[in-house]
Symmetry: C2
Subunit: 205 residues, 2 copies
Amino acid sequence: MDDTAGEIRPEDDGKPRRVRADAQRNLDALLRAAMAVFATSGVDAPVREIAEKAGVGIGTVYRHFPQRSDLIIAVFRQEVDACADAAPALAAAHDPGKALSRWMRRYLDFIAAKRGLAAALHSGDPAYEILPSYFQKRLVPALQSLLDTAAAAGVVRGGFAATDLLRAVAVLAAPSQEMGPEHGRRMVDLLLDGLRYGAGPSPGA
Amino acid sequence: MDDTAGEIRPEDDGKPRRVRADAQRNLDALLRAAMAVFATSGVDAPVREIAEKAGVGIGTVYRHFPQRSDLIIAVFRQEVDACADAAPALAAAHDPGKALSRWMRRYLDFIAAKRGLAAALHSGDPAYEILPSYFQKRLVPALQSLLDTAAAAGVVRGGFAATDLLRAVAVLAAPSQEMGPEHGRRMVDLLLDGLRYGAGPSPGA
DNA sequence: CACATATACGGAACACTGTTCCGTTTTTCA
DNA sequence: TGAAAAACGGAACAGTGTTCCGTATATGTG
């Protein structure tokens, strides 16, 4: 609600000193390093590896993220934000149908990269309990606006809930068997074709 | 294929010495202790805790199960076997409809107790790759025979794949939100009611 | 029954985690 | 310029899984 993207600062009030430049720089480096390491080695990667890749000491990691889960959560939120923010950008750059399909691909890639994170989410650790709601809060409006715009333009059917679509893709992207990434893409394309079926300029009948 | 239940011995060939009694006793105690601890604390419980509960040293655990995952796999296989073996037992003790519904409840309880294990399965550790196929190999025939018997008796519709039902229950039992165990039971009952709908002695029309 | 030996046991020791702590360094601002 | 606040770095701690080997014991034989 208060920090959606960009630099992260706790407060901007009448405090005399502002956040030190090196602190902000290290925080950014940490988030970037963590994102890369999590994508490569999963969320169980050692903290020391992330610290080394970011070029900082271990103490610095724990200064910014008191618990290991705080770092995971920060990366997750940042990636959710990036995915959500992609929606208006795509809507401005493409026609409604293309914007919708491109965003779905974007979302699919996001989910597919979150293998290990899904396991962490359901691990029972209460630290992660806030993530699903954040996921919904940011992504549902993003997709809903794309859906509404596309429906208004007559390229897809209206009246379809963004939540259902998000959940469907998330489940489809799960690698239960050794089905490659092709599978997820085909299923998402199929879902979109389903939305296009029966679309028309006038929503009624 | 070779050891379905009961005592576990690697070979029974012409070897002069048979398995030492204390070894077998400790192995049984370990499996029992591991099952209890996994159910209580999840599959991430410390090995030392299991060793202590079984009344053996840590070295003994690793003598029987060289890797931590071997112990998890052994417990899992044992519980899958128990669930699969319950099918013919229930079929012999109850009428087809009752046997089917009781087994589904039994299976639901099995799945519901495996929270942490599901996370381990999808952790990418190749040691667990054999488990899903074992799961299918043992459980699909068990449920299929119950389904066929019930269909032949006319209490449920025929032509329903056991695999789909197993997967559906496994997904429904997953605690994505904070829905209690009641939710899983209601959904399973609903699935069974669905199977009963339109059932009759003659499958055609 | 006594004994020799393969077998199994137990737990100290090792390697590697996440996390805490505090002396040192750097940045900020008067 | 200088002092204080802020942040840094990494040694040290606590708790994992795993290995190793001296010790204890069950087994089969004379």
